[in-house]
């Protein structure tokens, strides 16, 4: 007997998802500790979150936060840079240092039996970096070389131009890696000063998730961090004090790349912040428009027209309003057509083709039904807890996510799309071969094509 092929199987009853319990402790020095038990595999993940990132770079020093983060594993306490990495290797640890716009996150995953050794390394990197001149010179050289290589990468050129044009004179107006000129002017004391004023116990959250009890996870973090002396650093500008970004001076910018086989596209504008009450509806709107394979934009540009290997949109949620942006790399001779189609889709969702019942259901379902798989590994759970800390969200946030999304209706989603996606404000950046695509770009009626070079 075979399967019934006349119709798709119906889904069984849903299994509700509950985020595991978070235990919290605050040390006398102000440091916050979160622990979550995660007993599937004998591993543990530790994250240290400091809510200071590239947005805190002084305007004349873009890249300062990122290179400070990069220097944390280049010698600390009693250990040289090589000693740190030897110690990490001997406990099989995976180290991940990430400096974004809003935060610096130091993450480490290791075998549970090495929890104390892992935490001691995290502690030393975070609070006792040596910041030696010799190491700094080398790290800065590597960053400069990286910048040089990024000049050959269309996605990187596009991101840089888009960021700079979209957020002029704004803390989000540069990529975390910074610029060549700024990096060359940095001094080691800029870094130690920045570290002293930004990395304070009262700003820091340490999250430990893994194959141990809350009590032993907490005790291990306390042992590692209770000796960190509370100091009063300088205040760091909070995102709610950021100025409103100045609207871009151009609507269509072109970065010339001769002989490019494809054009790299970014289309978008400043949208909403992570804590906005419109967050959930914006996620659903994005799923429908360009947030998944079967979204309107990918189906149009990839599956219908074959212009691209893939096109997607996203809201980049940050502490202050981040961008709504479309990413795609399209066949060079289809550049103008792809732009016309993409912008047409963006216009239509809040115009003549509002969200349908069927799309709403698909968008809601994609976000909610697969939700539990975002919390499979210790590292994923730790990063989820870090979001709660960074954006100041309630502990039941993940558990209430599914019911909140399921309560949304078509009109809610269309209204949020209309409120937060505005075709008249779109900035379009194209990285491609000017000689081949300029005439067709001019025909798009997006105004003058501004030639942009990316420093």
């Amino acid at each position: 007997m075979g399967a019934d092929r006349t119709k798709l199987p119906t889904l069984g009853p849903e299994h509700p998802f509950t985020f595991p319990k978070i235990h919290r402790t605050t040390l006398a020095n102000g440091l916050r500790i979160c622990t979550v038990e995660h007993r599937q595999v004998p591993l543990v993940s530790v994250l240290a979150l400091v809510p200071v990132g590239a947005a805190a770079d002084p305007p004349e020093r873009p890249g300062l936060a990122a290179i400070t983060g990069d220097m944390l594993d280049e010698g600390s306490g009693d250990r040289s840079a090589l000693d740190i990495h030897e110690a990490l290797g001997r406990i099989g640890a995976q180290l991940d240092l990430d400096v974004g716009h809003d935060a610096t996150v130091l993450g480490l995953t290791t075998l549970e039996r090495y929890l104390d050794r892992g935490l001691e390394l995290v502690r030393d990197m975070l609070i006792r970096p040596r910041f030696e001149q010799r190491e700094f010179d080398r790290v800065r050289d590597l960053r400069l070389n990286r910048l040089l290589q990024l000049k050959d990468m269309p996605p990187s050129l596009a991101d840089r131009a888009f960021t700079q044009l979209l957020y002029r004179h704004h803390p989000y107006g540069h990529l975390p890696i910074g610029s060549e000129g700024s990096l060359r002017n940095l001094m080691i004391r800029d870094i130690s000063t920045f570290h002293r004023r930004a990395f304070l116990p009262a700003r820091t959250t340490v999250i430990a998730v893994g194959d141990a009890s809350h009590d032993s996870l907490t005790a291990a973090v306390v042992r590692a961090f209770e000796g960190w002396k509370a100091e009063s650093g300088d205040p760091i500008a909070e995102p709610d004090t950021f100025p409103a970004p100045v609207p871009p001076a151009t609507r269509l910018a072109l970065v010339h790349r001769s002989g490019a086989a494809q054009s790299e596209l970014r289309i978008g504008h400043v949208a909403l912040a992570r804590r906005s009450p419109d967050y959930h509806a914006a996620l659903v709107a994005n799923m429908i428009l360009g947030g998944q394979f079967v979204s309107r934009i990918n189906m149009n540009l990839r599956e219908n027209k074959g212009y691209t290997y893939g096109a997607r949109t996203s809201f980049e949620f940050r502490r202050a309003p981040g961008p709504f942006v479309l990413h795609a790399s399209v066949q060079g001779d289809a550049t103008a057509d792809a732009l016309r189609e993409a912008i047409g889709e963006i216009r239509a969702i809040r115009g003549d083709r509002p969200v349908t019942r069927q799309e709403l259901e698909l968008g809601r379902a994609s976000l909610t039904r697969g939700y539990p798989r975002s919390f499979e590994t210790a590292d994923q759970v730790a990063r989820a807890a870090a979001q709660l800390a960074l954006y100041d969200l309630p502990d039941d946030y993940f558990t209430s996510f599914v019911p909140t999304v399921l309560a949304l209706k078509e009109d809610d989603v269309t209204a949020i799309a209309a409120k937060h996606i505005d075709p008249s404000r779109l900035l379009t950046v194209v990285v491609g071969d000017r000689d081949k695509i300029l005439p067709s770009l001019k025909a798009l009626e997006l105004g003058d094509v501004a030639d942009v070079s990316v420093a």
Partner: protein
Amino acid sequence: MNISFTKYTLPNGLDVLIHEDHALPIVAVNVWYHVGSKNEVPGRTGFAHLFEHLMFEGSQHYDRGYFHPLQEAGASLNGSTNADRTNYWEVVPTNAIDLALWMESDRMGYLLPALTDAKFSNQREVVLNERRQNYENRPYGLAGMAIVSALYPPDHPYHWLTIGGAEDIRAAHIDDVKAFFQRYYHPGNASLTLAGDIDTEMGILLADEYFGEIPSGQKPGPVVVTPPAPPAEDVKLVLEDRVELPRLYMAWHSPALFAEGDAELDLVAEVLSSGKTSRLYRSLVYEQRIATEVAASQNSRELGSFFQIVATAAPGRTLAEVERAILKEIATLLERGPTPLELERCLAQAEAHFLFRLQTVGGFGGKSDQLNAYNTFLGDPGFFDKDLERYRSATAERLRTAAVQHLRPAARVVLSVVPRGRVALALAGSRAVTVS
């Protein structure tokens, strides 16, 4: 540490593996077909991968695209093709397991009736764009093609990369799809793993319900090749590309996946380039600062592997300096082998990497992918412990011996990738090579 599993082979030849893990209400469905670009022939390259794309375009009983019903059910899904195998996976909420099995079985059994010229030519364009994006338009993106085409003779199926040649993709014909499907896409050439929130008995029943009706096919025989002889002397090539910094690639033939010496060379690669205290990183990037990055890898494959070292010269430094420094480190390793501390570090890292792979039930590299890999390549899904043992039992002397045997001087392919118009930056004696 192991992955517990039950194996059951359906009468039509489909291997079914079930692994229970009830931590979350999700199930991974993972299918491997034992076919990849190594089953292609010259002039028809890139076809296995193009075919993979068509598997997402609908089948006879649900012909409206593969993604829609699954994403609506909350699935994540993907597929990939390499030289040796093609895999497809979904991770679904527990309540959508029937749906995922229905969809996977429909495309295993009933793909062809839904295939149209329009779908075929659309996906051919998508693949050409994938090729532009990931190879032609990416710095150093064509280096891999230059390396394999020099390592392997033209009639060896590792002579080309899985993406294939652009001309071959353009020349692909819809008629080829049918023959390919019948030869390689059937239960006898596939392995299905269900991992996660599912009971073993139920899993076997469901697998039988959905896949049992699909007719058996003949298992394609192994691809037989003459093992390529190592080059009699170094093959030195230069490729001009749109890059800022020259980069050096060095490649040697090495033992096949799971063969004697394979795990040892994996560890040799770790000694050479994993972490800042590895020999090459420490010497070239940290101390001498003549390179901006360096990576060594044992690229393990069924018919034979290759060991590769890649290093990018720092501005103002030459590839000749970089090569000298690499060869010096290799010579030291061949002479004295790794130190006890190095071995201890590499084994700790290897053990951790094994555990990292146990963290997810599905996706690329999760438990279901791992079970299917062992089953497809070895017929032994329980190989996890034995695989780990290959690493645990390695000794300094065995690493040294493997390196002496395989990282021989004058038996390499050495490729210099240099900025356009600056061929003088290549290693002396390099022959220009064109790849497109």
